[in-house]
Symmetry: C2
Subunit: 390 residues, 2 copies
């Protein structure tokens, strides 16, 4: 086991009607004038935004609003938010939405306290030392950004989809999580979120670090729970407990719980980020296409952990033929993704002929000569993985 | 799943040589003058105390010391610490040890800022609203106090063993955890710690709350990891990875990770607290005596979750006879406790004829007419459980 720091200071307030506590949580963490950041009109139509505003008013918190954040969020909305923050003297961001909204809010939070261009943090020209506080009301369980110190933004001109990481500064101070708010999510978005959280766990799970029994078991247990609850959810999208389990799994998948003391991989995320940057597909759906191909590729070179995954998560019987076990696990994972309505190939994703040359070139321009650690992937390898996903 | 708050703000700094960071962590969290609290002479003999003092000096932190905390800590040491704190103008407690030392430090931390008697908090005469900050260098993985908002003290006159709970105030700000520091623990203390952390998980696991798949899986996964690593540790007490896994399991067993969204039980802890208050036995060893008896008793009345435990943690085959499955799990648990060197009866604990009448009377005087929630236990029930443990 490697040395590690586990630090997850976010206060998660979870359950029915918890959005009514938003105002008092903002006060508790020192906010007096917040900017509410949100995406499309669904939070308005559902009445959620009105309930949150009521809670803020009751707590004596004033607010302004920044709506219209898009999936795969880009830099113009961040600049708009930074401007508004400064004009309005905002002292806390309140993200109401999923990963795209939260990541936009985090980017505004660092940008508002920085004299230069916030994109400097994304391209490594500046280091994050401070940010406005961010609170969250989560409506889409997927990205885990409500408990993470990370954010991802796509640059609309260069099409670079890049991330920042600053656990001490960027973790939200609180996250309100009411599973009932997710009843109305379209099935495709629910399924994409499930793929995203599963892969957050897998990026940590697939490691060559030895002696990490407890985090292996936490990863496997969370994956088993997600799969079981996904089946229940497919039978009844209004099953509260299934929604609640899925929502909490999305958080622990990415707040560090599953990843202590081990080298992580992240090749699948990097492979996918190029796809959604170029084709603007849903990140989780892109992962459902990439991950089975990635897993089949690495199984041929390093089957051990893939075989363990197959056995402990999907119940594939143990055998001496680790590769056989591993590939059986890949089949089960593909079957599961398909069952919940996700694509498992570029074709099913609606991209008949992806520009693989550009994907590979962008990937290695952004991430270096090799990506991943469970198996280090060169450009020849990543090209093959993209082809396997056709 | 019930509504819940998950809030674990402690910064855990885990791994080899991490005690060298103690001074800078104290500074980071605002300490300038600390009181080092510790137990017997082992932290002096091992050189750990000297290394920590060196680290504090290097960070420009001044300090005073309070040694001599005993297992099952009592109130006189707390009063001594409160006096010393005030005399010396201490602004942070630094606990170097296990649960007894940390709980003493937490009690001093609340008492130092309170004009009345700190015992008021234990008997419910006052509510905890503030405390000095507490940092930890952990040397015994067991109680989980390094990540919890709880403390337990035994009153030496009344023999009441009582607890306080104030998650927002009492959680340590940081915990330094170097598994190498646990190599020299006597085997009996290692084993008692293992029992303690396992039962922290079980107190959460045994619930009638439905729809808690993810926390069930986290509980089961952590228990499986503990058992596997305990076998490795028995073969080689200097196995770093085994020590590391056990140490981290002790923390997540009690920081809330395994217990979200469910009613908890805690009857076994209350049953045991009376035993160690009256006979001054090691808490974990007392639990190894009590828990199998408790589990056999509740299995007869509510076998469902015990059967699930038997199957998922100990691999007992599934069958329609849940009671049979459950009792097979109890046997396996007893076998495991014995294997790692723990007593599983009062007799093996060295108490041939425990004063069951007094134990039962004290228990219900301290904890009310019934204890537990998985099965609510009356005084007739707790008497029978104590007898089953003879």
């Amino acid at each position: 086991m490697n040395n590690f720091v586990f630090y997850s200071p976010t206060e998660f307030v979870f359950g029915k009607d918890t959005e009514a506590q938003t105002g008092s949580l903002v006060r508790k963490y020192g906010g007096t004038r917040v900017m509410i950041v949100y995406g499309g009109g669904s939070v308005q139509r559902s009445g959620l935004l009105a309930r949150i505003e009521e809670s803020l008013q009751a707590a004596g918190v004033t607010y302004c609003e920044l709506g219209g954040v898009q999936p795969n969020p880009t830099e113009p909305k961040v600049y708009e938010g930074i401007r508004l923050c400064r004009e309005q003297g905002v002292d806390m961001l309140l993200a109401v939405g999923g990963g795209s909204v939260i990541d936009t809010a985090k980017s505004i939070a660092v940008g508002a306290l920085y004299e230069g261009d916030f994109w400097d943090f994304y391209i490594g020209k500046a280091s994050i030392t401070k940010a406005l506080k961010v609170g969250v009301v989560l409506t889409i369980p997927a990205a885990g950004s409500e408990g993470s110190g990370n954010a991802v933004i796509t640059h609309s001109v260069t099409l670079q989809k890049l991330g920042i990481r600053a656990p001490e500064v960027l973790r939200p101070v609180f996250a309100v999580m009411n599973p009932e708010l997710t009843y109305t999510l379209p099935a495709y978005q629910t399924a994409s979120g499930i793929a995203d959280m599963m892969v957050h766990i897998m990026e940590r799970y697939f490691t060559n670090t030895e002696g990490v029994e407890v985090s292996d078991r936490l990863c496997e247990g969370t994956l088993v729970a997600i799969i079981k609850e996904a089946y229940r959810l497919k039978a009844n999208p209004n099953d509260y407990d299934a929604r609640a389990n899925i929502m909490w799994c999305g958080t622990i998948a990415h707040n560090g719980t599953c990843g202590v003391g081990r080298e992580e991989d992240w090749a699948s995320h990097f492979l996918e980020h190029e796809v959604s940057a170029l084709y603007d597909v849903t990140h989780g759906a892109g992962l459902a296409v990439i991950v089975p191909a990635w897993m089949a590729f690495v199984a041929e070179r390093n089957p051990k952990k893939v075989a363990q995954f197959a056995h402990r998560v999907f119940g594939v019987p143990q055998s001496d033929d680790l590769l056989e076990m591993a590939l059986s696990g890949v089949s089960q994972l593909k079957f599961f993704f398909r069952y919940i309505g996700l694509p498992v190939s570029f074709k099913e994703l609606g991209i008949e002929q992806p520009d693989i040359d550009t994907l590979v070139a962008n990937l290695h321009r952004n991430k270096g000569l090799t990506v991943g650690s469970y198996v280090k992937l060169t450009s020849a390898d990543t090209e093959e993985i993209y082809r396997m996903a056709l």
